[in-house]
């Protein structure tokens, strides 16, 4: 992968997945818009990326923290219509799974669940994005899956 020289390259390379991630984590297009903007502005202010080749995990980490910060401030409201946009059926994860995840999971577990099951990150990347060990990332995803299944019974 070539070295990133500019904000524009970072943005154009990763904005679609970060926007989708924000939409899947918040379940609301306006919140997703805010999280996306705050994430990239923070990345521009914090330039350069801390480690070459790990810009993706860096952005996911910033985005996850933005969602957690927002959750502390505001009560979560989920728009079914926006979740429909956010959740194409994938690897056995349905829209209902995602709606449940957004409603019942705490932010950390929800982030792990969305990163692994919908964004398709490897566990090593999930761990970097969430600033935890790979083992912790695995157990967060497993715990999240269990809770989602239970809640849907």
């Amino acid at each position: 992968m070539t070295v990133l020289l500019t904000f524009g390259e970072l943005l154009e390379r990763h904005e679609r997945e970060i926007f989708a991630y924000a939409l899947r984590l918040t379940g609301d297009r306006d919140d997703a818009d805010d999280v996306y903007q705050d994430t990239f502005l923070a990345a521009f202010r914090g330039w350069p990326p801390p480690r070459r080749g790990q810009e993706r995990a860096w952005l996911y980490r910033i985005a996850t923290n933005k969602v957690i910060d927002r959750a502390r401030r505001a009560k979560r409201l989920v728009r079914v219509d926006d979740l429909r946009l956010a959740a194409p059926e994938r690897d056995g994860v349905s829209m209902a799974d995602l709606a449940t995840a957004v409603k019942v999971l705490p932010e950390g577990q929800r982030a792990a669940f969305v990163l692994r099951k919908l964004q398709g990150l490897e566990y090593a990347e999930v761990a970097r994005a969430l600033d935890c060990s790979e083992e912790a990332a695995r157990s967060r995803v497993a715990e999240a899956m269990k809770k989602v299944k239970e809640a849907m019974r």
């Binding site: 020289l5 904000f7 390259e9 943005l11 996306y36 521009f44 429909r84 946009l85 194409p88």
Partner: protein
């Protein structure tokens, strides 16, 4: 019934709006130093970058080279963002030029990231009018060094702002076309647009005044 594709298109549309707001915020905060955009032209896509002092780059092809980006980043830092608001005025003038409705450009150009010699060569080139043709040797002479026609050719080959700085109007002393960053076909088409057709093998010597 909404299909999956509709959903994806809608997400992309939301993403585009979010990007516009993001770039506007970055601009307000002074994080954006240079805005760029890609426009279609009769010569294919052109990548246009505009900085605080004017046009920095018009690049043949939809993506700049790493060399081109590096040159801009060294002068203005990493704050390059896709921003049609900055590239649109240039795109409009280029459209008018290609439609034959514009003979000179009003947009400011920024040559500060270049060497002094390159700047002098490009300044001399900028004075060659629409429909006129001159030679590398004459441009070198105007830039203060008659013997530097080869170096003038190199400086023009590295012209970061073709079309607006009309390096296509500079040909070799023997009447052949010389070189062009956008390819010789592009050079022929630009010269043809400005009047006259280019004979096979280049321009006759008498045109190279």
């Amino acid at each position: 019934m909404t299909t999956l594709q509709d959903g994806r298109d809608e997400v992309l549309a939301l993403n585009r709006l979010a990007r516009e707001r993001l770039v506007a915020r970055a601009r307000r905060e002074g994080l954006e130093t240079v805005g760029y955009g890609v426009v279609d032209s009769p010569l294919g896509p052109l990548w246009i970058a505009v900085g605080p002092r004017g046009v920095l780059s018009i690049h043949y092809g939809g993506e700049p080279s790493a060399h081109e980006l590096g040159r801009i980043v060294r002068a203005y830092g990493p704050g390059l963002l896709p921003d049609a608001r900055r590239s649109d005025p240039v795109a409009r003038e280029l459209d008018q030029y290609f439609a034959g409705r514009r003979k000179s450009f009003d947009v400011a150009v920024d040559l500060s990231p270049l060497t002094d010699f390159q700047r002098r060569i490009l300044a001399a080139t900028a004075k060659v009018g629409y429909g006129d043709v001159t030679t590398y040797a004459r441009v070198a002479a105007k830039a203060g060094n008659q013997k530097a026609s080869r170096a003038a050719g190199a400086a023009l080959g590295a012209n970061p702002i073709p079309i607006v700085i009309p390096c296509h109007r500079i040909v070799a002393t023997d009447g052949t076309l010389g070189g062009y960053a956008g390819g010789l076909d592009a050079k022929r088409r630009l010269l043809a647009l400005e009047g006259g057709t280019v004979p096979p093998g280049g321009w006759p010597k008498k045109r190279a005044t």
